[in-house]
Amino acid sequence: MAEEEDYASSSDMEEEDMSGFYLSDREEDVLEETVLQGLESQCEEDCHWSVSSVITKESLLAAQKEDLRKVMELLALSEQHARTLLIYYRWDVERIFELLEQKGKERLFSEAGVTIIDKNRATDLLNSSQSVNCNICFEDVSQNAVTEMDCGHSYCNDCWTEHFIVKINDGQSRRIRCMAPKCNAVCDEAIVRTLVSARHPDIADRFDRFLLESYIEDNNKVKWCPSIPHCGNAIRVEGDICCEVECTCGIQFCFSCLSEAHSPCSCQMWELWTKKCQDESETVNWMTVNTKPCPKCHKPVEKNGGCNLVACICGQAFCWLCGGATGRDHTWSNIAGHSCGRFKEDIAKRTERARRDLYRYMHYHNRYKAHTDSLNQESNLKESIQEKISVSESKQSKIKDYSWVTNGLYRLFRSRRVLSYSYPFAFYMFGDELFKDEMTPQERDLKQNLFEDQQQQLEANVEKLSMFLEKEFQTFSDDEVMHTMSHVINLSDVVDKLCKQMYQCIENELLYPLQRATHNIAPYKSKGLERATELSVCWDSDQSLRSMKNNNEGSCARWDLTVNVNGRHSGSRFPGSSSSDESGCSSSTRKRPRRDVAGGAAPFDLNMPPEVIDNGRY
């Protein structure tokens, strides 16, 4: 048992966190206090700000109405013009306001194909009742069978309809341009809908769906959930879009690349790693360097020992250097009657490098695999632990609260995940493939030592936490339970801090100094991966609209609004607005902007099992 007490601690760990480590007093209230302390310290959040929400088929319309409304209100536009603008600028409201400042309204609109109708001209045309010649079908048609678009171009309704159908069938619903040559105006969606549905209601429906789904397809902040079969949801992230989220269907994924949540690996590292694991390219390399096909039966033959004469199991002898069949008589340096003059050292070197690469890969892969396997095994713990808790709760005992067990278990899951993905990270961070020219070998050694030190500490503590959670605490005496509990609580805390430190080390010491490449990682979430919440759109938003208008009166207030809208800090870019509270980040374009969490995400304790959260919070 002595070994268990020996918690690894890092020099960065604050004193006060370590002081409460061993509980001498085992009074109930003291214990509860410690539990609370443990939970409180988990509430400290890092400085990445992002909020994710689930958009279902039902809430998709509401979700985009929010953005439409913002643009309509602030630019005094109709809904369809606002939509055209938003589709063109990829539903980036903040960017539209930025460009408004830079380009002015006119250019902003014309580039997106928004044309505001000149009402006088329209009435002029309506008054005349004579027939006109349509410039497309070359037929004379009566004035009421002609439609004029906002840009002033008019053609007969049949021609418009045909044009719309061709474009919708061609997948261009989101930007159907006017038929006039070189006219950039986007056609009025109401006209498209009316004319097309008169002839093909199904195509009109498709048009509407395309417009609706533009909010997902043409939007950097919204992505379809990657679940297979698809759950029907999309996820919207506001704030930092480099993050990991969980859909209401239960799948967890990296919002940037849509593969499984893989931090602290960057998306590129993860892509390389999965590819590598799939094709086992290292093994293949090793095979090609270390085996040669027999010239007779073509089976791969491995060389054993230093001699260049190799023999296949079929009995054929051949020269390792050139692969040519030979007789069996040879000395150390010569095969009788055979001289091919290959340069031996070159081959020896290549073999050596391939071997080294393979061993390196195997080293990282084995550890990655070991932790992934443990994670799978530990997820089976969930049920058995629930049983143990039930047994314990029914016992005659002073201890009634067993939330520390489930909390500890969730902490274990998360830290195990971090640990397993930290191996592919290290494989690329300290390997030659990605950053060979970024660091001198000395720098690399130094950083690798720093990182591995943290990794080892985390590993040791995760294993200890795992061990304590596997104990048969339901059979323990109260004293023993409390002893176990104090270890679980404190280890949970230590492991959380170590994870956080590792992410900080990766971001600040390892990835940030890179000159040639940009690698971002999703932030560490102490409370677990963020669960996207069902989008709740407040339709009674008169109040917020009023505040928008009020804001708009001030010279710079509009920019404050965009901050509210997107949760991003655009302050420093606009004169007159409050200055940025970040020092190092604002000037750097390579690093993602960070924002303090204060006032951001609701304190959502994902450390709790889902049932607790569901019941307690909603």
Binding site: I136, C137, Y155, E162, H163, M179, A180, P181, K182
Partner: protein, 196 residues
């Protein structure tokens, strides 16, 4: 689906002033198929294409004029935006910049304008484009030689050749398309016609 009445009007309109515009368009074969047409462009004065007559194969998709016509040079031509191999054309109005308000005549006039003003930065034929940018005199010489060889010989005698082959008993539409496919070489056309 093809707007037959519009195409007929276009043909009449285009050929009305073909002597002035230098572009004309006719049915490709004798079977009255309006979706397969044959256009001609006379090489613009003051360019290496001057004096040549360039034949364009024109196919109208069923969605025409709401979808762009498909055009391709039949006459071999040396030009950065036209494939020297198969006559494929790189021109925006034949792709995403097509507008139903454009016509076959305006499209052919655009091709004529393209002959006058190549756009080597957006090439169809990389070899020609490179020559155009690096060795312009050589480009002019090659383009002129191609015009002399392919755009004159073929056009000058084409009607005579057609007549001769038709008199031998081959249908006119087939004669024209066969002559097209061998760039007006009478003997090769005959060989092809005979072999089926």
């Amino acid at each position: 689906m093809l707007d037959v009445s519009r195409v007929q009007k276009e043909l009449a309109d285009c050929n009305k002033d073909k002597a002035i515009s230098g572009v004309s368009i006719d049915l490709h074969g004798g079977d009255g198929d309006l979706s397969h047409l044959a256009g001609t462009i006379s090489g613009p004065v003051g360019t290496p294409y001057e004096g040549g007559t360039f034949r364009i194969d024109v196919r109208l998709p069923s969605g025409y004029p709401f979808e762009p016509p498909k055009m391709q040079f039949v006459t071999k031509v040396w030009h950065p935006n036209i494939s020297s191999q198969n006559g494929a054309i790189c021109l925006d109005i034949l792709k995403d910049q097509w507008s139903p308000a454009l016509t076959l005549k305006t499209a052919l006039l655009s091709l004529q304008a393209l002959l006058s003003a190549p756009e080597p930065d957006d090439p169809q034929d990389a070899v020609v484009a490179q020559q155009y940018l690096r060795d312009y005199p050589m480009f002019v010489a090659t383009a002129r030689y191609w015009t002399e060889t392919f755009a004159k010989r073929a056009s000058v005698g084409i009607e005579e050749k057609v007549q001769k082959l038709v008199e031998m008993g081959f249908p006119e539409a087939l004669v024209r398309s066969t002559l097209d496919s061998v760039n007006g070489d009478e003997n090769m056309a005959l060989e092809k016609l005979c072999s089926g």
